[in-house]
């Protein structure tokens, strides 16, 4: 049975269902319970549920042993998730904003990401790090990046970028059940978007792209929030007879190259939309996949629509300029179809 819920509720529901199903799943992070409920036994008391209320109510249902507020010590609690995963739990750690990865990266890439390999396959680290990404909140340079390409770059780590309430729930359930460390990137502007989501548990497989809109003239690969802008652009372009196919990779590591290639071979034109900075980005990687594996099919040089190579600015008009828009996507599509 499906009903309409928000992206925020979809994430909460995924965690809740997995914590009910598997007692080894725990969650920890800064203020994820939050407020009175952290210290009072009273399960009815209101809990803050994280900065943006995503984990609201979990502490009332599962208690403080499994829903843990942490000190502002990202190295120690993300590292504790690694140690707990390596010894038998399935922890979810919340890194409040991805911009904070600088204070705990060692535990993610040197410990979680390398342990299995360094130990000759004799360890597994089934953990999820959930973290907020993206511009649009006027939150300035240290609370607004996407920067997920950094994690896709790293062997041993998987990375997913949900874009709808449906895939937010299914990808998170898949990530929690996965035996490898998974980075799960939640775009803060998407939290209030709504969509149809089944009540029951289901999995959106890691490493599988989705065709968000079928089309035959141009392939637009769009990540996270950019999927919404790509769909808007596609509606505009349809009026001019340009039929856009929108591909949402959903996972950036593993990356579903075959779905992207199949689409590009069909449409023969490619635009990649990515809110991340352009250097060493997923946008560049996807263009490389197309040009090295489908060169003969391309009728035009691929284009990318990305954030510029700058930090995220604060002032509203500047931030709006920074984030790729439906208009910029439409212009890029027109340019490759000329």
């Amino acid at each position: 049975m499906t009903r309409t819920i928000t992206f925020r509720e979809a994430i909460n529901e995924a965690i809740r269902l997995e914590m009910r199903r598997d007692p080894l799943v725990i969650i920890m992070g800064e203020d994820i319970a939050g407020g009175a409920a952290t210290f009072l036994q009273d399960k009815g008391s209101e809990a803050w549920g994280g900065d943006l209320g995503i984990t609201k109510g979990l502490v009332q249902e599962f208690g403080r042993e499994r829903v843990r507020d942490t000190p502002i010590s990202e190295s120690s609690f993300i590292g504790a998730a690694v140690g707990a995963a390596g010894t038998g739990l399935r922890p979810i750690a919340e890194l409040m904003f991805v911009d904070f990865f600088g204070v705990c990266m060692d535990q993610i890439y040197n410990q979680a990401g390398k342990m299995r390999y360094m130990f000759g396959g004799k360890a597994k680290i089934p953990m999820v790090v959930r973290t907020l990404i993206g511009g649009g909140f006027r939150a300035a340079a240290q609370h607004s990046q996407c920067i997920y390409s950094v994690f896709a770059h790293m062997p041993g780590i998987k990375a997913v970028v949900p874009s709808t309430p449906y895939n937010a729930k299914g990808l998170l359930i898949a990530a929690i059940r996965d035996d490898d460390p998974v980075m799960y990137f939640e775009h803060k502007v998407l939290l209030d978007t709504s969509g149809e989501v089944p009540e029951e548990s289901y999995v959106v497989p890691l490493g599988k792209a989705e065709i968000a809109r079928k089309g035959k003239n141009v392939t637009v690969v769009a990540l996270g929030r950019m999927r919404l802008f790509a769909l808007q652009a596609a509606e505009e372009l349809a009026k001019d007879g340009i039929d856009v196919e929108v591909v949402d990779p959903q996972s950036i590591s593993p990356l579903d190259e075959s779905t992207i290639l199949e689409s590009v071979k069909k449409t023969r034109r490619l635009v990649v939309v990515d809110e991340d900075n352009p250097m060493c980005s997923m946008a560049d990687t996807i263009v490389r996949v197309a040009t090295t594996q489908a060169f003969d099919y391309l009728d035009a040089a691929p284009k990318t629509v990305t954030a510029p190579h700058t930090p995220v600015p604060f002032s509203a008009p500047l931030e709006d300029e920074y984030i790729p828009s439906a208009a910029k996507i439409a212009a890029a599509v027109r340019a490759v179809t000329k």
């Binding site: 707990a84 360094m118 998987k158 593993p254």
Partner: protein
Amino acid sequence: MAELSKKELLAVYERMRLIREFEDRAASEFAKGKIPGFVHLYAGEESMAVGVCHQLTDRDYITSTHRGHGHCIAKGMDVKAMMAELFGKATGSNLGKGGSMHVADVSKGMLGANGIVGAGGPLACGSGLMAKVKKTDQVTVCFFGDGAAEQGTMHESMNLASIWKLPVIFFCENNGFAQTTPARYHCAAEDIAGRATAYSMPGLAVDGTDFFAVREAVAEAIARARRGEGPTLIEGKGFRYYGHFQGDNLSYYTDQDRADQKARDPIDKFKKRVLERKLVSEQELAAVDAKCKQLVDEAVKFAEESPYPTLDKVFTDVYVSYP
């Protein structure tokens, strides 16, 4: 704390002796070019690893450091698999994919030597958290050096372990030097153990070269952790015979340092004590010496004769699954 039986004393002596034999041999095999990469040797600190680990079971965990061979042996790892790992062979404990700085055996509760100074603290909080959530009586010992004591991760981890009352023992092996930088320079405190006060946990400094002093301090900390009363910080003051890594010319050790080290040798100290009290005989200790030499000879032979990993192993075990 119960006295150790003769059998237990000999087992303790064997682990310490085996570490020394292994490390001395690793030094000579490194010098011959048989062991590649970075090697950080534990000789001189045997009383700390063994003083701690002989009180643990395979279900208890330890996290380790750059200088991890001693912890591995003390926790019961097979020296053949360890030596093969140092040689980079397919039969190594990590299939030749980790080397000296990453030797591990999770089945023995050994969560890996670690190339990142101070990285073990958060990991130890994690295995401690596992035990707490699963309501087992497992404890975790986090070994770290005086150098790591200055890393933020260690401060964060001691605080986290304390507020969550995690069953973790933070054991600082203060060998006096962070690479070449002396602790009296890099550490603002006289005793690293004194920092325990800041994290509301018991803290004590002991002579790390005295097996019995280490054993006694750790016994109480383990009991406290198993009772669910939370972490303890113990600082063992000791030294290392070899440099930070093999190739370090030890220009920072004075002749006096050398003489002091010899006088504090943890194995000599242990022998003297058990012989004076007639708990074991010279002959029994000599038999252990011979056994350890043989075990290490066999380990080197095994490592030399083992094949290198096949080239496909570059690509395996990055993930459990990756389409």
